[in-house]
């Protein structure tokens, strides 16, 4: 009988397809993955610890650098945790601005998720170029609003730092309708591609029960058929005022996870259309916000939102001083990685890259 040895292959931390500095130790039986072990911490910057030396408002720029594709939603999750702890009320206009920014961020994230997944499949850079083109248009709006493209530092505890600039609403409306056309185009161009289907259907299946047991959230969970969306479950901010669906796929393979992103872009566009039509006038920062953060209570709170990647939560413990006593971050990227081994076992090594691409991780958030 032929006896073969398994090979241990080291993937990363410098690897073009690991979305940053992620490392995986893979045990291979020929081409098939027999076992794998993710190694994290190559971007551990100690954000939770640094936060303990910062005042509550000074922590906001650090949250930008967690999931650096979706800075706005990170700001929002942190702001919500602090508001809950200190009992700060947010003006209505600020809530609308938050929803608009969060949904634009979601579109950016989903576009990049699709683009990078196609990169991993070997469509080197072409779909990504289109996605980046649209991303730049959204970033123009962000830049106009807060002066920064990537690390926005815009949503603060108590509201948002500045009001929308002149001409934002008409421009955003124009962009929203353009994004709808673009998503249609992207959908026709990519979704039914034969090579894509043969590479992704039935690859890396994540069953719904495993997804729930691994506490996976976000598009990954919904692609496995569980209609769980914190925007609907918690009705946080003002999401109960908008009419939108929670789309799901049923199979949980890589193709479903890809298509889930496309479906969610359409829902984000629906929310944006409604929010841009109904945004009221008014203040954008709570009146007593800065005063209550100068003397914050001795309390603790957990604020969570549906970030583009899943449930993003901040647990803030205050000891009455100006700084948080402890800040704990629940990163969706890292927890979504927890079922990677089960998804990859028995698959081919080339599919491992595709599966990892469909999980859509950002290392700043995985390692914090």
């Amino acid at each position: 009988m032929l006896k073969t040895e398994s090979i241990t292959l080291n993937l990363g931390p410098q690897h073009p397809s690991t979305h940053g500095v992620f490392r995986i130790k893979v045990e291979l039986d020929g081409e098939a993955v027999r076992d794998l072990e993710p190694v994290m911490g190559y971007l551990h910057r100690g954000i939770e610890k640094i936060s303990e030396d910062r005042t509550y408002v000074q922590v906001v720029p650090l949250t930008d650098r967690l999931d650096y594709i979706c800075a706005m939603t990170n700001n929002q999750a942190y702001a919500m945790a602090v508001e809950k702890m200190a009992g700060i009320k947010v003006p209505e206009r600020a809530e609308y601005i938050r929803v608009i920014m969060a949904e634009f961020t979601r579109i950016i994230n989903h576009l990049l998720a699709v683009g990078f997944l196609w990169n991993e499949l070997g469509a080197y850079f072409t779909p990504l170029l289109y996605c980046y083109r649209e991303r730049e248009r959204i970033l123009d709006l962000f830049e106009k609003t807060c002066g920064s493209r990537l690390t926005c530092n815009y949503i603060r505890p108590g509201g948002v730092s500045l009001d929308l600039p002149e001409g934002f609403i008409p421009e955003a409306k124009k962009l929203t309708s353009h994004l709808k056309t673009f998503t249609d185009e992207l959908n026709t161009m990519l979704t039914k591609n034969e090579i894509f289907i043969s590479r992704t259907v039935d690859v890396g299946i994540l069953p719904a029960d495993l997804a729930i047991n691994s506490s996976i959230t976000g598009p990954m969970l919904r692609a496995s058929g569980v209609p769980y969306d914190i925007r609907k479950v918690d009705n946080y901010s003002i999401y109960d005022r908008f009419d939108f669906d929670v789309p799901t796929c049923d199979h949980g393979d890589v193709w479903d996870r890809y298509y889930q992103h496309i479906l969610e872009i359409y829902q984000s566009i629906r929310i944006l259309e409604q929010a841009l039509d109904t945004i009221p006038d008014g203040k954008v920062m709570g009146r007593r916000a800065s005063r209550s953060l100068r003397r914050p209570p001795k309390d603790e709170a957990y604020g969570r939102i549906e970030s583009p990647k899943g449930e993003l939560g901040f647990y803030v413990v205050g000891d009455g001083s100006k700084n948080p006593y402890r800040l704990r971050i629940r990163p969706p990227s890292m927890i979504n990685l927890s079922a990677l081994k089960e998804m990859c076992e028995g698959q081919k090594i080339q599919d491992l890259i595709v599966i990892l691409g469909s999980v859509n991780i950002v290392l700043g958030e995985v390692d914090r």
């Binding site: 190559y42 971007l43 910057r45 100690g46 700043g364």
Partner: protein, 167 residues
């Protein structure tokens, strides 16, 4: 060949100018993103900013084929040995561009885990400030690097010297 044709087709220059012009027009960066800055680095490579105009679009996944290392992001202590190894795997002539506040000085992370500037482990040619730098700022960094390359003399550069005479 008539004298007229010679006048049109021949010009005199220095070896350095031609050699450096060729080198600076095809600086290939190693495909190596660490953190937030990597997203802006990809942004600089895509349609709107398009740094392939400077002959830099070919990002090599292998350091052995690259000339320039863009340290795009935070270098933490766990990653530092790998960064050093990638640098050492690159063949001479090689350049390092520290992109962003983190690679320059540790940036907003004065913490136990973060290397306070990549120049603690490898020599840096160009620093680009910003957190993250805009793609235009990164291109300004490239221009600065091009100027640096143009200023080098083939006679004196270290990689053509015998080992003990290296500058």
């Amino acid at each position: 060949m008539t004298e007229e044709e010679i006048r049109k087709n021949i010009f005199t220059t220095t070896v350095d100018a031609v050699y450096n012009w060729g080198r600076k027009s095809s600086v290939w960066p190693v495909m190596f993103g660490l953190a937030c800055c990597a997203i802006e680095m990809i942004g600089a490579a895509t349609a709107r900013y398009d740094f392939s105009r400077f002959g830099m679009e070919i990002m090599r996944a292998s350091p052995r084929q690259a000339d320039l290392m863009i340290v795009a992001g935070t270098v933490v202590h766990k990653m530092a040995p790998q960064v050093l190894r990638i640098y050492e795997q690159m063949p001479e002539p090689k350049y390092v561009l520290a992109m962003g506040a983190c690679a320059t000085s540790g940036g907003p992370f004065p913490s136990y885990a973060v290397l306070q500037g990549v120049d603690e482990i490898i020599p840096v040619d160009v620093y680009v400030p910003g957190c993250p730098p805009r793609p235009e700022a990164l291109m300004q960094g490239f221009m600065t690097l091009h100027d640096d390359i143009m200023g080098q003399s083939i006679e004196k550069v270290s990689w053509y010297q015998k080992e003990d005479a290296a500058v």
